[in-house]
């Protein structure tokens, strides 16, 4: 079977792909990494619970997963139905922030594939993957955000099967 067909068979199926706790160090490192110089992240006399969580942090951080990072190329085997890791580009993100999260919150990420399409590009075939990722804090009913994400995988010519 073409791996595209295998991927299509997973459309609409929800899977908990990540989970983890937001802690002060994670927030501080994220703020530093994005060049955020707001002193609120670094004030020693601020209680950790009062340090805000940057609004896009939950969408950008890879929380712990049962599928650990590949030590060779840094990739995640998230899309395990593909025959090998393909170069990936990001097409779009649409973040809906429903509720603020705070330090100490335990985040769960539920992902489902919404659509898969293949198109011909200049440098080979392109696979467009649209995902919906829902974020929950502490409770599976406490929906705090959604990320509609579109990725483009660059598929070499003639490489369409397992």
């Amino acid at each position: 079977l073409d791996h595209l067909e295998l991927l299509k068979a997973t459309i609409g199926k929800e899977e908990v792909v990540q989970h983890g706790v937001i802690d002060l160090t994670l927030v501080q490192r994220f703020a530093y990494a994005t060049g955020n110089s707001n002193p609120i992240f670094w004030t020693n006399n601020t209680e950790p619970a009062d340090v805000p969580v940057p609004p896009t942090l939950i969408f950008e951080v890879n929380f712990s997963s049962n599928k650990p990072v590949n030590r060779e190329d840094g990739s995640y085997p998230d899309i395990e139905l593909l025959p090998k890791k393909l170069p990936v580009l990001r097409a779009s993100n649409d973040y809906e922030i429903l509720k603020p999260v705070k330090i100490g919150d335990r985040i769960s990420v539920v992902r489902q594939l919404s659509s898969v399409t293949r198109k011909q590009g200049k440098r080979g075939k392109l696979i467009f993957l649209d995902f919906e990722l829902k974020y929950f804090a502490n409770d599976s009913k406490n929906h705090v955000g959604t990320n509609h994400e579109s990725l483009i995988l660059l598929e070499p010519e003639g490489d369409t099967s397992h």
Binding site: P52, P55, P87, N93
Partner: protein
């Protein structure tokens, strides 16, 4: 207010259609990309390994698109002085941002809406590189702002 950062937050009355968002600028570096990879636990080597990026068919390591979202979010939270104002952030990536590029993030208010106590603004967002090229396109944010008389003194 539970969040100390909200004490001087921008109010709904402070902005109008066409109000410009205070811009920010960043230079993309290989070390910066590596720090972002470590902070987000996303170690895809194409963002910080020149040889790997070349093997994958790219001219140089490039920034993770989501980092651009973080920069826009920082721009918006700095402008509003509130970490809770952003309700939606839509990003459509148009061009890659390579190591060595400098980018300017900006935006403009395009709409104000009020539905009862719910006051929102919509903003067009943009990021240009040092050549003036659009890095994102059709990107926007929706923010919820307080009314002035609800602000702390």
């Amino acid at each position: 207010l539970s969040n100390p950062s909200d004490l001087r937050s921008l109010s709904f009355e402070d902005v109008g259609v066409n109000t410009e968002i205070t811009p920010i600028e960043r230079k993309i570096s290989i070390v910066g990309n590596a720090i972002y990879s470590a902070a987000t636990w996303d170690f895809y080597c194409v963002h910080y390994d020149r040889e790997f990026a070349r093997q994958e068919g790219f001219s140089a390591p490039f920034a993770d698109g989501q980092m651009l979202g973080a920069l826009l979010a920082e721009m918006l939270t700095s402008w509003t002085s509130s970490f809770n104002s952003i309700k939606r952030l839509k990003l459509r990536y148009k061009a890659m941002v390579f190591v060595g590029d400098s980018i300017s993030c900006g935006g403009r208010v395009t709409q104000k809406t009020q539905d009862g106590n719910d006051r929102k603004i919509t903003c067009d967002l943009w990021i240009h590189n040092q050549r003036g090229e659009d890095v994102i396109t059709d990107s926007s944010a929706t923010l919820s702002l307080p009314i002035r008389n609800k602000r702390s003194p």
